[in-house]
Symmetry: C2
Subunit: 397 residues, 2 copies
């Protein structure tokens, strides 16, 4: 896909740089991992430092010193993930600022205005993301989801008289109406591609209806939203495999907030072109390293005396610094034992190195997916990436 | 000076990598700032991960993936800086571990054994560092010193019946006797250069006596210890200008824990060859950036809309990323405004970038000192580095 700030290969994985930085990683090192496009969060940048400020600095690319493509989300997802402190109505969302506690009103119009000011290459429609499952009806929240998502879902769906289908219909209706308002208020459509977002929870009929409504609005790309927000791996696959083929074939299809390798490969095979997720960065900061056969927890005692790199054979700067032209000690690497020491000593270099490894892991995974789409050798792919076919939600060593 | 892990130019400034990492900075980027030798702290590595562990990993160079020269201190200084929780006697120091609170006994013999295990190129004698001034006698603790140092000095010298001269004499006596024990227990003198440390507080006669005692032991290098530990800038200069010329001319002279630019230039002119200090790294993490005309506090409101780099014209990776081959946005830099945002957003990249700038600042300063020693143009040096002649303890903009 080509943007005013260069092109990126698809399927693409976008590292998340919430506040205008991929946490702990210098921009040229983000590039070194193979990333071609980044995601910034509109909600966070709206609160601090503010979109006018970033506009005066020359936009989000110059702001964070990243010359390549950038995508901003709309803030719609934060209405779900920060459900505890906000109120949603047919006009928009009232947030309580995570910076100073003040009240922040977000509507389709000012989400787009903010994104116009930030100046990303791809901007997202302001949508209503409903809870994916109804816990009052006995549907479980997937155990791999974060505590925050679980809490958000239980809070919404646990309300007295909660009607899940009604909530899904409201979300569809709002998302469709808000999309019209987003498009109407988009002032930089020549420079910024506005993507629509489809919703529908885990209900396939509603997913179809949302695609119909959203794709009825002519736009340069479309996304699947409200996936991997607390439902099971099976429900994720069911929704994506149903929805992705319904989106226009000649436009980029973006699965928001996904995910684990098994989810990505499933979605790519269903036709998805773009992904973003905090997994490589967040897990990296917590000493969890992704490998082709699953995550390993570097805090584990068994790695204390382990001189191997995170993943032998990996070409990332942490596992094979010499191949990146980094000055190193002869025969040296950043061993599992050293990384474990850094985490216990609360040294920044631990999160930095494991994040670099994880970012490279996902980029290498995407690169192999792009190759395999050409060759069709999915058997070989499965051998190279056991983690992608794992049934286990997280394979941690 | 040449070591088993390469040589370094003098006068040299050693960044501090207390726990086996220069906080937040990848080793090849430490090298990129021009650093040729690092310092690690024996006390911290003794507690975690432990010297046997590092020895089994192949020593401290391989441990932290730094192929160049490394110096380890002895732990003697921590008996001063962590005075609140330890006890010192003629045999050694009993520390309370900052990791788990357990009791750790450190004597000359096991300080050297630990440093033999760590395997640095230069190791330091275990010494007794006395308080530099007697607050009971009305001598003030310099206001630029850290709260911890002030507390340590007040605690020692504020004791009832405290006799400062007696304390200095005890320190001289212990330091001399411990040096003999250090040398006798040094098991790797063919690979590791043991440096002696002179003491004496701010008393010049005792400084002379300590040089006599310490230099009476034949060693490959000698250090001035107990300087810049709470005394005034004037006292620092008085002691260094008195002591440095007394040390053997044909051996490296190392001024421990110093310091600000004005102190370094004074010491270099007095004949000092080696320095270490936490200022560039610690201050960098606190958003204080060194410039040729003094420190600037990047948290200040006046930098909010400032698009300039930290120091225009600076060749560091933060100020001029393009010159380091880092991918950047066209015309981009890491602006003061962006850095300020990173610190307020509590993003790691803020400390990383300002630390890189500060490390480069000190290396550029040393490089210019080396040139000026050759040319003798100290007038030109003073014009290029106003901060070095500043009378103010800290010139903060």
């Amino acid at each position: 896909m080509t943007t005013p700030h260069g092109s990126f290969d698809t399927p693409a994985f976008m590292p998340v740089g919430t506040k205008g930085t991929v946490k702990g990683i210098l921009p040229h090192l983000v590039k070194e991992t193979g990333a071609q496009i980044l995601l910034n969060n509109t909600y966070h940048l709206l609160l601090r430092p503010g979109p006018e400020w970033i506009q005066r600095r020359g936009g989000v690319h110059k702001f964070m010193n990243w010359g390549g493509p950038i995508l901003t989300d709309s803030g719609g997802y934060q209405a779900f993930s920060l459900a505890e402190t906000n109120k949603i109505d047919d006009e928009g969302v009232t947030f309580k600022s995570i910076v100073d506690g003040s009240s922040v009103r977000m509507k389709p119009e000012n989400s787009i205005e903010t994104q116009n000011q930030l100046g990303a290459d791809i901007i997202m429609a302001f949508d209503d993301c409903p809870p994916p499952v109804d816990v009052t009806a006995g549907a479980g929240v997937d155990e791999t989801q974060t505590a925050r998502r679980e809490a958000a879902i239980r809070r919404d769906t646990g309300k007295k008289g909660y009607d899940h289908n009604k909530r899904l219909d409201i979300a569809l209706d709002r998302t469709a109406k808000w999309l019209e308002r987003c498009k109407a208020s988009h002032a930089r459509s020549d420079e910024q591609a506005l993507f629509g977002i489809t919703q529908g929870g885990s209900d396939l009929d509603r997913r179809s209806k949302s695609v119909e409504q959203v794709c009825n609005v002519e736009l340069p790309g479309y996304a699947i939203g409200g996936v991997a927000v607390g439902e099971s791996t099976e429900d994720i696959a069911k929704v994506v495999e149903h929805t992705a083929p319904l989106l226009p074939l000649n436009k980029p299809r973006y699965l928001m907030g996904v995910g684990y390798e098994r989810d990505i490969v499933m979605a790519v095979r269903a036709g998805v072109d773009m992904f973003d997720c905090v997994l490589p960065t967040r897990n990296g900061r917590n000493a969890n390293a992704f490998t082709a056969s699953g995550q390993i927890r570097l805090r584990n005692a068994k790695y204390a005396e382990d001189d191997l790199p995170i993943e032998p054979g990996c070409d990332c700067p942490a596992c094979n610094p010499a191949s990146h032209g980094w000055l190193t000690c002869a025969g040296g690497t950043f061993s599992r034992g050293y990384l474990r020491h850094l985490f216990y000593a609360e040294e920044m270099l631990g999160p930095i190195l494991v994040t670099l490894h994880n970012l490279r892991h996902f980029q290498r995974f995407m690169s192999d997916l792009r190759t395999t789409i050409q060759t069709g050798d999915w058997g070989g792919f499965g051998v190279r990436w056991p983690v992608a076919s794992s049934k286990a939600p997280e394979n941690r060593g």
